[in-house]
């Protein structure tokens, strides 16, 4: 069996998070949110630590992590991009925006650019349907996006670098 390793400080951090939820396995989803919020993603060893802390089989943790699309086991780009493919956005051309993003970044949905800056994902509705089509980059929501605006939006971030 391979040995997975984590630094003591990370383990302590995970323990603290679990402690904050009384090590209650019913709070698993909140705990995973908090942990992903801290580390950016949920690699296997992190799930192992959570499982042993909550005294549940690690398979259960993994079953939950893979059920919810919000959780990820691979690190995202520095600026994760989410394209809303909800209905309102779809009928207003979200697919074309997505294609343009794929073209500009030269990656497919679910991938991260080689420079690690951007990763691309889809989600269903951020609740800003009124501004459809909508994309969000690192938590910032952009409304009324059209394919020809994509380049300009991305350049904001390239500029920051």
């Amino acid at each position: 069996m391979e040995t997975l390793c984590l630094s003591q400080s990370k383990i302590t951090k995970i323990h603290d998070i679990c402690e904050g939820y009384n090590n209650d396995s019913a709070e698993l989803i909140n705990i995973l949110h908090a942990t992903q919020g801290t580390f950016g993603f949920l690699p296997a060893e992190v799930q192992e630590v959570i499982a042993s802390r909550l005294d549940i089989p690690v398979s259960k943790v993994y079953g939950v992590v893979t059920f919810y699309s919000f959780f990820t086991m691979t690190p995202n780009g520095k600026y994760p991009i989410s394209v809303c493919l909800g209905t309102a956005c779809y009928v207003r051309g979200a697919e074309k925006v997505l294609e343009e993003l794929e073209r500009q970044l030269d990656i497919k949905v679910g991938e991260t650019t080689n420079d690690g800056l951007f990763s691309l994902d889809c989600l269903r509705c951020v609740g800003a349907c009124g501004l459809a089509p909508v994309i969000s980059i690192a938590g910032k929501v952009y409304g009324r996006v059209s394919p020809d605006k994509v380049k300009k939006i991305l350049s904001e971030y390239y500029y920051q670098e």
Partner: protein
Amino acid sequence: MNAVKTTADLTRIRESLCTSSDLFDTNENSGQVEIKVSMATCGIAAGAREVNTYLSEIIEREQIKASIIRTGCMGYCYAEPTIEVKIPGEEPIVFGHVNKSKIDDIVFCYIRKGILPDDITWMKTGTAKEEDLSSKQLHIALRNCGHIDPESIDEYIKVDGYQALGKVVTEMSPDEAIKIIMDSGLRGRGGGGFPTGLKWQITRKSQADQKYVVCNADEGDPGAFMDRSILEGDPHSIIEAMTINGYCTGASKGLVYIRAEYPLAIERLKIAMQQAREYGLLGENIFGTDFSFDIEIRYGAGAFVCGEETALIHSMEGKRGEATVKPPFPSESGFKGYPTNVNNVETYANIPLIIRKGAEWFSRIGTAKSKGTKVFALAGKVNKVGLVEVPMGTTLREVIFDIGGGIKDGKKFKAVQTGGPSGGCLTEKHLDLPIDYDNLLAAGSMMGSGGMIVMDEDDCMVAMAQFYLDFSVEESCGKCSPCRIGNKRLHEILQKITSGNGEEEDLEKLRNLAGVIKDTALCGLGQTSPNPVLSTMDNFYDEYIAHVNDKLCPAHQCRRLTQYFIDPEKCTGCTLCARACSVDAIKGERKAPHVIDPTLCVRCGACIEKCKFDAVYVH
């Protein structure tokens, strides 16, 4: 600190707040201009933060006596960012599409001189009040959204907030309060339309030493955003209603299950909970009675099925969000096996007003079997995309054309999808249908959570069905065979049809399969996921036939069935299209007619949008 121990305390606080600066009849005395900035997710995405900052600057600079209030969503999505300006003695005016230069105009023309500049989108508000039914809207659930600062409990108290709670816990028995809800005829706004009072009663009657009330704020229907707006704009009303619910059902604990995609709503809810606790409106001995109640937040993590109540409960228990067979219903055995009352955000938003104004008042609004109002998230190809709240019984035509301002770009109305992925497409012939739970169901759709997506002649109904199925396939929990495999097969057949490989027998297969999935799936997701297929087959069968027999997509949307051409007569050789084409499929000399290479063209449609001479066409 303002601790509320009795109803008298609440009244005292309210009165002291009202005299200092009244909210409704207002700033007459103070002479202050009141500016409200719509600061919900939608507004912020459109630039409300920048607007807010600029407004503060200019007011400071120009030394205008004005206060700026950050409110929730005003509902005019199409015009975001929006601000409302109320000059003492005048009707408030909402300005839309606000930016720096428009703010300048508003400040210098309107606020300074009282002149309404006509190159700015503006509308009168106050129109959604009960007295004025001519506006077609009636705001009950949205009553405070866009009017008060959601981060201030005082503002909520000023508009009679927590009065209903006080009344219930100090003057009524749980049964009396439940009776009001029952008599009001309120039905669940989360989709099912189950009578709310009855649900409360069942939970009340379930024997257990612990009970829970849950607010379902998962709002999974892509295209619906009323729950977010309510939570961002009026979080206290939900806290108040849940507490009333707790008192009525005998629960001491409330849980809000909210999707993680709503950070602002979460933040505002947390602030509101904290404030309520400080005021003693949450926690031990509410209003000095022996009733105690508190609320916790649980996050969703991106799974539509977790809106379904049994799946939601599993998710709150830290498990995979799989649905379970009902009965037992959550009201009998829910969270951790205890009786659990699950209600939707909008359902809750109605409660305080029903308690305050009475069952009779509420039941006068709406139709025979559907009382009150319903909030719709009007989106898609309408001019005035936004949140609308109308009395039950309003027709689709009124919503889409009168309130929504008709179809965008003067196109032809084709269909409206209500109920999201569980609903169906309604057509021209349904436009005069009074909207209520039963009518929509009879017409082959659903109320659902209130998403309303309008489609025009450019939308392909087969592709639309495929889109919804794609959603259901992705969101199925995978527990039961008809939904796990059946939806996948439905989707594959639709895919086959939209890519031009459909055969006539596929239509028969589609119908049978859709019927069986509805008939056999375990939970509401699978039981309704074939609706978009069935309703488009019922209403747009000719489009299916066109795809299958003629290998044509009448709306030119299905890429495999369309081809782009340039009319050499019309083309001026301006090269715009060629430059827009990302795959270099367009060849041609400057000033000479261009041609599209169909083997390279990926049918993205960019050229058609760029051509100013209408030379590009699809077939």
